[in-house]
Amino acid sequence: MSDAGRDRFLPHLMRIAAAREETPDVRTVRLEFAEPEVASGLQWRAGQFAHFSAFGAGESVLTIANPPSRPGHIECTFRDMGKVTSALASLSVGQTVGFRGPYGNGFPIDEWRGRDLVFVGGGIGMAAVAAPLRLVLDRRGDFGEVLVLNGARTVADLVYKEEMKEWEKVERVRIVRAVDPGGETRAWDGEVGLLPDVFESLRLEPDGRIVVICGPPIMLHFMLIALDRLGFPPERVVTTLENKMKCGVGQCGRCNVGRFFVCRDGPVVTAAQLASLPADL
């Protein structure tokens, strides 16, 4: 989308068309542009993010959860965590929010053609996995087997519960769900364990697989260690970074990890790139 001449901070107005409470503190909203021409002109890549605003509270950086293969609207999933997300969580269907973006690099989906793919989403990190996963499912023939490993602290914290049932029906897609020890219920039929352990128990061979992992820093840390031990080459392990951002274009000065600006050079990085960055994460 060309926003030439438009002030970069001026958001597009969007109406909340639908809202779904995923968990007690995670919400998914479907947003529709107030100006239809913006909707038709907007182009983005899976993995790019945007600034979403609740007027009066401010802006928050969230990933665009719907892939470009499902255009015309914007979907995002967020946890009620700070000032802006709690304001966004309190808005009702029909109310107006702001959107500016997209920003960042996105996932190199085309490089994954023909390969088996593993998507690992921990907690709200599943929102960052959603766009590339949905895009892969929309282009099912281009890729090999798809494994989705979704974990959360407790059963109540699992997101996309209904949609996951649909994903499971797609050919050559396997879904593994896990909760942290103690987070299970009596009726729970999934795995119990931390994601790195559950991943190891699956006994996957690297075999040219692409592994996409998104989740909290502590989960990423141990997943990367596990993947390294299992022999997954760091060039084929992909994750997304997250940092506070105020602009999206490398100027506000707070999302950088050394010379690497998460907003401009990321948020998608390989484990190999990550290893070359200073420990400022």
Partner: protein, 395 residues
Amino acid sequence: MIRMSSPNEFAQEKGRPVKGEGWRLSEEEYERLQDPRSVGLDVRSEGWRVGEEEWREWLGTLLRSGSRLVAPVEEDGLSLFRAVSSAAEVSLRGYGNTRWSPKEFLFPATEALFSYRLLGDEVELGAPPADGGEQVLFGLRPCDAAGLARLDEIFLEDGEDPSYAARRDRTAIVSLACDTARPECFCTAVGGSPAGTEGSDLQLLPLDGAWLLRALTPKGAQLVPASAAGWTPASAADWRRAEELRLAVEESIERDPLSPEWAPVLEGAFAQPLWEELGQRCVGCGVCAYVCPSCSCFDVKDEGDAFCGARCRLWDSCTLPQFTRHASGHDPRPTRPSRYRQRVLHKFAYFPLQHGGRLMCVGCGRCVRLCPVGIDIRESVERAFSAGASGEGRP
């Protein structure tokens, strides 16, 4: 003191005078211009010898033309940049440098990006109030003019920021070369000069009791009034004297260079334990960033209530504790040493590595002078470089 490049090599980088036709030079002048340290004066440019009466009259002309004039004034014993309504308010007497840098006139401490109004479920957005026409920033020290050129790199070259670009476009900068250096000055250590021209459209060079005014850009030339026809053109002796004074001030700044060539070593010194020691002293007050002419980090937040207000951009500082803290509580830079390291490395490693070797420091010395716990960024850079070069404590 470890050194990777001499000041001469560095000065060469920054703009050696070029030999051309039509120069009237003595042997001695020619010799001096061959000296790579001669980074300042281009004797080919047009210049006038002006007295105080003449420049004040000129400023009056600018004000009458409707231009906003920002210049140093004396207020409560401090020198500060203010928009003045008469040339008589301008005070260059005993003026070393202003307490605050002039960056707020291009990059305001707080500015509204747009306004919002909630009308039921609808939201109405409004453009911010337009903030005026032409402005002349007068009397900036060359370091501060260079600082604004750093802001240009961030807000124009790294992707144009429309509000900054509009303000920059209608701004002309008249710098004032230094006749003395203050103890905290170190422009020469970071590639500048007491008569540096970077970022200036016009420049006044001190000449014992008078000034040599020279235009450096077409924009600057346009500001010279018609009455300049009656001014005395600067003589060869005037140029020579200005050059002598520049060299004298330059020599009085006894600082070893902080070379941009150090950037890779500094970047590699990220994990040095030294940062713990350097950064523990920092109290995280942020004054260094607020007074810095090149610091450009900002915050964006809504000011108002649930019904109306404005989204604002505000200065921010990487040494403040909330700067990088996520809503979740996770903080990539959770300690004062980790934040202070970011400040030093952004200016002396990350920025030069991405901007053709230009440091994000112009040597104005305000942070050195005003730090409440006496942190000297020059010392931090030198020590981090030494530690990085010797590889001590490398993990």
